[in-house]
Every structure is written in C-alpha cells, then in structure tokens.
Amino acid sequence: MPNAFSRIEDLETTVVILSELAAAHEAEKALLARVACCRYSDAATFAIKLALEEGMNNAIKHGNKFDADKTVELVYDISEDRAIITITDQGCGFNPSAVPDPTVDENLEKPTGRGVMLMHAYMDEVAYNATGNQVRMVKRNT
C-alpha cells in the first residue's frame, strides 16, 4: 500500500536530539501537546506518555549510553485517529525477545526490562528493526 505510506509521511514531524534527558523532555512535551489537541482519552494519553518516556529512556541510556556524540531521532505522526511514534538511537541495538519478563516473582525487584514490557502492554503495536536500535509504536484513539 504505497499510498498509505505517502499519506503518513505528510504529517510526520522529525526531531533529532542529543543524548540528554532534558532534551528528551522538551521533545516529549511537544509531542504530548499534539496528543492533547487530538482528543485522546486520559487512558490513551497516559499510554502514549508512558511508552514515549520508556522509548526515549531506553534510547538515551541503553542505546546511546549517554554518549554526547550520539543522537536520538524521534519521528511522530499524531492525528485524531492514531499516534505513530518511531524512536531511533545510534547504539548497537538489542534483542527485545532476550529481555527477561519483569513480572515473574524472581524478577519483580530487578531494575531491568520493565520499560520494554510497558511499551508492549500500553501500545497497540510495537515493532523493532532487525538491529534493535529502532522502535516503532502505534496507539489507536478508540
């Protein structure tokens, strides 16, 4: 469906930031302001904010490891029917299926894996590229 893709590209906003939490916060604010314009429910807004925060956190901390020479690219397309968010870092990627399940008893107190699990739990679609340095997430406004 090439048409669907060209349509989506028309509304995309691309933001490239340094690997800093403050820069991520600014970019997230702009995205969430757009979500606020598009009349998402409180639950959907919470889901988008959470997945965005987790995705940016992973990109900066685990992907780029706070390397000042590396950047994170945030691309988003928010409309009244759905939000599409793609986050790409310049790290060497990871294997999402190798992340331990943080909800089993023996992992409950471990600090890792919760972000990735939450993105899957709160978004309608979550997909990684082959390298594992890019995540694309979709939330539908239902």
Partner: protein, 115 residues
C-alpha cells in the same frame, strides 16, 4: 517541600509513620530525586514510609524502579514502603507490572499508616 521538574514532594510525620506526598509526574528526570529522597527515609530502623500518591498522575519505569529500590532497602531495617490512594491509571500500572505483590496499596493514608 522539594520540587524537581514535574514533581513536588512533601514529607511529614504522622504518628510513627512518615508520609510522603507526591504531586505531579515522575519521569526519568524526577526518578533520580525521588530515589534519593526515599533512600534517606527508609534507612532507619522500623521506618514505615507511606507514599500518598493521590495526585501522582504519571510514573514511568524509572520511577517505579526508585520505589522498588526503596522497598528493598527498607527490608533489612524491618521497615516498609506502602502506597495510598493511587488514581485508577497508576493503579492499573501497578497491576500491569505486578508491583501490587511488592507493595501494599491502601484506600486512605490513615489505613496505610495503621497497616
């Protein structure tokens, strides 16, 4: 009272318990401050720390990490971190992460203090 970014944190004593009121949102930036504050509070013998989260409308995994850390640090001191009055969205998050197994959640601050 302390504030960091989108979070305001207010600590007070009620009987033998310490009540920490969290207002706003805990993202990655705020999680660090929250962790530091809680670490100090829980490392006292028998400390009961009640987090009043009625007006906490957002918390990410880094923030949850700070809570989990505090609970783990309270244990050798025979203390406990308890949660009071989560809003429905935060309650759902606690259930999704199964952290309801790690924290006792109460409908009011008084009930949380009583345990």
């Amino acid at each position: 009272m302390e504030s960091s970014g989108d979070l305001v944190l207010d600590v007070r004593q009620q009987g033998s318990a310490i009540i920490v009121r969290l207002v706003g949102a805990v993202g990655m930036t705020e999680a660090t401050l929250l962790g530091r504050q809680l670490d100090e509070l829980v490392q006292q013998p028998g400390a009961v720390v009640v987090l009043d989260i009625e007006h906490l409308d957002f918390i990410c995994s880094s923030g949850l990490g700070a809570l989990i850390n505090a609970q783990a640090k309270a244990r050798p001191y025979e203390g406990q971190v308890r949660l009071a009055r989560p809003c429905p969205l935060v309650m759902r998050l606690l259930e999704t992460t199964r952290l309801t197994n790690l924290f006792d959640v109460y409908a009011s601050v008084d009930e949380a203090v009583a345990g």
